[in-house]
């Protein structure tokens, strides 16, 4: 097989599997659903690993597959750009997808939509691969929207639940708001650069750095700033940055495997990937980078706070994802694109692990998701316990674990960044370390340690009481939770390995080696953070071990450790204290409970506002003015005129004769005048 065929096979195999199962699944035995799709994604994964190995030694591949459309001087193509960035993304996507496929056999085994679910996640894998393998903006947008579609279908997978179908519509529309900016950004790129091909655009970009455009009156704006901010608005939708983050917590209505795959590890990182891919453009606008870093730090900090008060196990992890996406965005804003991608990768592993661990807990608890009903699960679910502990430790940045290397690098990058807003970003990411450690270990302790609280709860007290019985019956007080079978445990173990170790092995080549050479472009003069980081590495750390040892003496480690200790103290030793704080600061608690009011504002202002305007335009504009006054009005006017004319028809012959004479006279005089 030539490399070209391999590149084609990688996305097409999952697509083929999705089509077979989606179209013919109901005629095939149940097991076919997972056999076919897992075979597809497993081969894709193996080929992706091969492609990554190949990309380490060979030049990037950049070729057109077919010409999609030609119009005038513009041509739009479907094509692949395979360099180390895309190859790495392909491996991450197919690996996490494979784990989730296997896990799903256990998680969904009772569900009547079994085949449909496998078809969707394979379709997702195809879409995500098309997104990361693209060599142009149009195909990127294709993949971008396609993953959005699958996300919509999967959030609403249990389509009889009102909350699920509310959440999927919300997710799609909020993402469309982001796409609105994204599409305009693509439009500006095509207009000013004459192409949508990455290579062509990036090669002319430096010459366009000082181009100005007029948008409002004669005020001139930097083309790069406008374009980059518009593109980034797209990233804000997909990667759930404030204020377009509102869809992600609600997306937890979908089955847990897709929360791991789509809403933690892969799709939501598409925005991060996109900005890193566009580094040659973003580097030309410090204003856009400032915008990026400020949005990222707001997301990192304020979404973390919300994680503290959540009681639904999935929502805690969801807010943690939001916060971590904020970290990645901060790295982008600091021009540390490789750090952002590095954190994207480590996060993909440990966050998928945490979600799948949460899913395992949910299965053990018979679909009760409230962490206040859990406790001491370590006794009953040892594998889930150990792997979740690894995931949590990686998340809070424990030295030597993968999250440590990526997260500390982000903090350092924010410290060294010079763009406006980086001071705030540094503060936000540092504070975030404490917050992350606190909410992660609050959840960890409540779930795996302490008293077995489900033995005390009454079953009508579930917070998920609006849900159907089938999925939320909860564990009865006399039952013990059980760890699910090997299809669930195996992915947990396989994800725990990279969560532990990938940072240690990858940091040096990815951040300080030439892994991303020629792929990610940084203007070291204008944005020195990455340069400083490398300097530190070479003068102080020297090696991953050095960095870990050094990390033990730094502020982030102290913050993380105190977060863990405080969580232990509050929730294991003195549970009365958090309750007292909650009572004492009820106003702050209320603000957090309301998620800062974004949802109610959007509902009242945008959703209700659009309906209000729509109703007015319809009832007044269409019905009253156009139909009432103009159309029917004209008809009425004609009716009235004909009434007048009718009066002329008197039935008296001399009236008619008189009228005729006047008419003849008029016509004659007209004729005479013309001659």
């Amino acid at each position: 097989m030539s490399m070209q065929q391999i590149y084609l096979a990688i996305p097409l195999l999952p697509l083929l599997a999705a089509m077979i199962i989606g179209l013919f699944g109901k005629y095939l035995p149940r097991a076919a659903a997972h056999v076919v799709t897992i075979a597809g994604v497993a081969i894709s994964f193996a080929l992706s690993v091969y492609v990554l190995k190949d990309a380490m030694v060979s030049q990037p591949y950049n070729e057109t597959v077919y010409s999609w459309l030609k119009s005038g001087n513009f041509s739009f193509e479907i094509g692949f750009l395979i360099d180390r960035l895309s190859a790495m993304m392909m491996v991450v996507v197919t690996f996490v997808s494979l784990m989730v496929h296997i896990y799903t056999i256990g998680y969904m085994h009772e569900d009547k939509g079994y085949a449909r679910f496998f078809s969707y996640i394979s379709l997702f894998t195809f879409s995500m691969l098309m997104l990361v393998m693209s060599n142009n903006f149009m195909q990127l947008f294709f993949g971008w929207e396609a993953v959005g579609l699958v996300s919509y279908l999967l959030i609403g997978f249990w389509y009889t639940r009102p909350t699920a179908i509310y959440a999927n519509l919300k997710a799609f529309l909020v993402n469309r708001v982001g796409d609105f900016g994204f599409l305009l950004g693509i439009g500006l790129v095509l207009f000013h650069f004459g192409s949508l091909d990455y290579a062509a655009v990036f090669s002319v970009a430096p010459a366009m750095a000082d181009t100005k455009i007029n948008l409002i009156g004669n005020a001139s704006w930097s083309l790069m700033t406008v374009t980059c901010i518009l593109l980034f608005i797209g990233a804000m939708g997909k990667s759930a940055q404030v204020p377009l983050h509102v869809w992600l917590p609600d997306s937890m209505e979908g089955p847990t495997p897709i929360s791991a795959l789509i809403h933690a590890a892969t799709m939501v990182t598409a925005g991060i990937f996109m900005v890193a891919r566009m580094s040659p453009l973003f580097e030309l606008s410090s204003t856009a980078l400032s915008f990026v870093i400020v949005i990222g730090s707001i997301t990192a900090l304020f979404m973390g706070f919300l994680g503290i008060i959540q009681n639904d196990i999935k929502r805690v992890v969801a807010y943690s994802t939001l916060s971590q996406l904020g970290y990645m965005t901060v790295a982008l804003g600091a021009s540390a694109y490789s750090v952002a991608i590095f954190h994207l990768m480590t996060h993909a592993f440990f966050k998928a692990l945490l979600f799948l661990g949460a899913g395992s807990v949910i299965m053990g608890m018979h679909h009760d998701q409230d962490i206040r009903n859990m406790g001491n699960l370590k006794k009953y679910m040892p594998i889930t316990w150990i792997t979740s502990l690894i995931g949590s430790l990686a998340l809070i940045g424990t030295p030597l674990l993968s999250g440590f290397y990526s997260k500390d690098s982000i903090i350092e990058a924010a410290k060294f960044s010079t763009v406006a807003g980086s001071g705030f970003a540094y503060f936000a990411v540092l504070t975030g370390v404490f917050v992350t450690a606190f909410y992660s270990f609050r959840m960890y302790f409540l779930v795996f340690h302490g008293k077995e609280k489900w033995r005390e709860v009454k079953h009508d007290a579930h917070h998920h009481d609006d849900h159907d019985e089938e999925h939320h019956h909860g564990l009865s007080p006399t039952d013990d939770p059980h760890e699910p079978g090997w299809v669930v445990k195996l992915p947990l173990i396989l994800l725990a390995v990279p969560s532990l170790a990938i940072g240690y092995f990858a940091i040096e080549p990815m951040l300080f080696g030439d892994f991303f050479k020629g792929v990610i472009f940084v203007d070291a003069h204008a944005h020195p953070a990455m340069h400083e980081l490398a300097h530190h590495w070479h003068t102080i750390f020297h090696s991953p071990v050095g960095m870990a040892v050094h990390g033990l003496m730094t502020l982030p480690f102290a913050l993380a450790a105190s977060g863990v200790v405080l969580a232990w103290f509050f929730y294991m030793k003195r549970p009365d204290i958090p309750a007292a704080i909650q009572a004492k600061f009820s106003m702050i608690n209320q603000i957090l409970e309301n998620k800062y009011g974004f949802d109610s504002f959007n509902d009242r202002f945008f959703a209700a506002g659009s309906r209000f305007i729509g109703n007015k335009l319809w009832q007044i504009g269409d019905v009253k003015v156009i139909d009432g006054a103009m159309v029917n009005g004209t008809a009425n006017l004609i009716g009235k005129l004909s009434g007048v004319v009718r009066k002329l028809q008197t039935g008296l012959i001399y009236h008619y004769a008189f009228a005729m004479i006047i008419g003849v006279f008029l016509m004659l005089s007209l004729g005479l005048l013309k001659i």
Partner: protein, 499 residues
């Protein structure tokens, strides 16, 4: 034999469906409807097959009129039977003959009364509309243009809903009044040139004031047909009352008669006026895109919602025309074809529900996906296409027009892009209320999933929607030369020398 056929292919395309329609009328006997149905199906399929060589024998490099036929019709007024089609007309002709097949199948056992008249109306209408797309003589065009109103009038008036009389009269008056002004414009130009040949009009120099008047006369006829805001209010009423087949033809083809005619008459005959009035036309288009989308959001009747959605999507067509670049114009043509598939499919979907429950109200449904899973899958696909999802045909035209518009003015593209949000909002909100959720009532509980006939037509449309979305180039290859030629024609002023 083949040579003769190819020389007269446009005549065959027009008159075969008309002939088939007349033959079907002879079988008018409701006690033996199956004979009528099979005859109508045979007629429509043959009529469709006849149009296929228009694609296979098309010269892609030639932007002018191909497959021309010309002979004298009425000597005293120099009126010719002159046919010819270019890269813009042929996709629309194919769409017409194809849609007629779909309509015949969709009516199969749904229409039980006066089957022959119903089928004949659509077959005859198909021929007349192909006539509109393929004549190069103004009077012949006018005859086809007006004649196609009659079967449509009958379809809505006879097989329509309870308020059909109001709707038909509104539809008829709106469109008739508009076309009268167009006739005046033709007569004026006949006086100037002594000819009704469109090609003569293309060469006729005209001062700007006259061009503006001519343009506005055409505008009155075409804007009603498309329809553009604010002369759109006949469309929702007509759709609501029309039977499913009538809605399909109305949305898929009748609206395109207006769009096509802008490109055939108004713009090339009065290019200076087209430029002069482009701001006005763009404004109306953008109002259609944004205003109408908001109106669509609050509709309670599914057919009204889709009708408003059609108006909003046609706003992209007129926007694409008046930004005067390749992307915009070709995007507009692609949008017309794509809208033909998607709106047909959406109306057929409403028809599927209406045939079972006899209600078009959104709140009469809920949880349909539980009882009709296959149907729900199609509906979600078409809804996504209607929302302009990449990979479906709905994306291509909008994408091209937005990228074309941004080159003229950033804010045109900005306003047009609102469709990304509102288009998804009104379509998917309807999907949510109709298809998702628990089974809402006994009617929904009793629903049976698609039968083979319904599955077949929705599957064909789904394949087309995806095919155009994944590989639109064959379509733009057809339009490319014609659009380029049209743009260069439009770039040349027709003002008389010395003015």
């Amino acid at each position: 034999m083949l040579e003769y056929f190819l020389q007269h292919i446009l005549s065959f395309s027009i008159w075969l469906p008309v002939l088939a329609g007349v033959l079907v009328l002879f079988t008018a006997n409701d006690s033996k409807p199956n004979l009528t149905r099979w005859l109508a199906l045979f007629g429509s399929v043959v009529s469709f097959l006849v149009t296929i060589p228009l694609y296979t024998h098309f010269n892609f490099a030639d932007g002018g009129f191909q497959f021309q036929e010309r002979f004298l019709w009425i000597m005293s007024f120099n009126i010719h039977y002159h046919l010819g089609a270019d890269g813009i007309a042929i996709p629309l002709i194919l769409l017409t003959s194809f849609t007629t097949v779909i309509v015949v199948i969709s009516a199969w056992e749904v229409i039980e009364k006066r089957v022959a008249q119903y089928m004949a109306s659509f077959l005859i209408m198909s021929g007349l509309m192909i006539g509109v797309f393929s004549t190069l003589d103004a009077i012949l065009y006018y005859v086809f243009w007006e004649a196609m109103l009659i079967p449509m009038f009958l379809v809505i008036g006879i097989w329509g809903g309870p308020n059909r009389v109001y709707a038909t009269v509104k539809f008829f008056l709106y469109t008739l009044l508009g076309s009268l002004l167009m006739l005046v414009a033709f007569i004026y130009m006949f006086h100037q040139t002594g000819s009704f040949a469109i090609s003569d009009y293309y060469q006729l120099p005209l001062p700007l004031s006259v061009q503006v008047l001519i343009f506005l006369a055409f505008f009155a006829a075409f804007a009603v047909k498309i329809p553009m805001w604010p002369v759109h209010t006949w469309l929702p009423d007509a759709h609501v009352e029309a039977p499913t087949g009538g809605s399909v033809v109305l949305a898929a083809i009748a609206l395109k008669l207006g769009g096509y005619s802008f490109l055939r008459f108004a713009m090339p005959i009065a290019p200076d006026a087209a430029h002069y009035l482009s701001g006005f036309m763009i404004t109306l288009s953008l109002i259609a895109i944004v205003y109408i989308a908001l109106v669509a959001l609050v509709q309670k009747d599914m057919k009204k919602l889709i009708a408003y959605s059609s108006i909003s999507h046609m706003g992209f067509v007129t926007l694409g025309f008046f930004i005067f670049n390749n992307l915009g114009l070709e995007g507009a043509v692609v949008q017309m074809i794509s809208h033909g598939f998607i709106s047909s499919a959406m109306f057929l979907c409403v028809g599927v529900l209406y045939d079972r429950v006899h209600s078009r109200q959104i709140d009469a449904y809920g949880g349909v996906a539980n009882t009709m899973p296959a149907f729900a899958a199609f509906a979600v696909l078409f809804a996504m296409a209607n929302s302009g999802l990449p990979g479906t045909s709905g994306f291509v035209g909008e994408f091209m027009v937005i990228l074309g518009a941004i080159q003229v003015n950033f804010w045109y593209a900005f306003l047009a892009s609102f469709t990304l949000i509102f288009g998804a909002a009104y379509t998917l909100w309807m999907v949510k209320r109709v298809f998702y959720g628990e089974v809402a009532n006994a009617n929904v509980q009793a629903l049976k999933d698609l039968n083979k006939r319904e599955f077949f037509i929705l599957a064909i449309l789904a394949i087309l929607v995806l095919a155009v979305g994944i590989y639109p180039q064959p379509l733009t290859d057809m339009t490319n030369a014609t659009v380029t030629q049209l743009l260069s024609h439009l770039a040349n002023s027709k003002l008389p020398a010395g003015l």
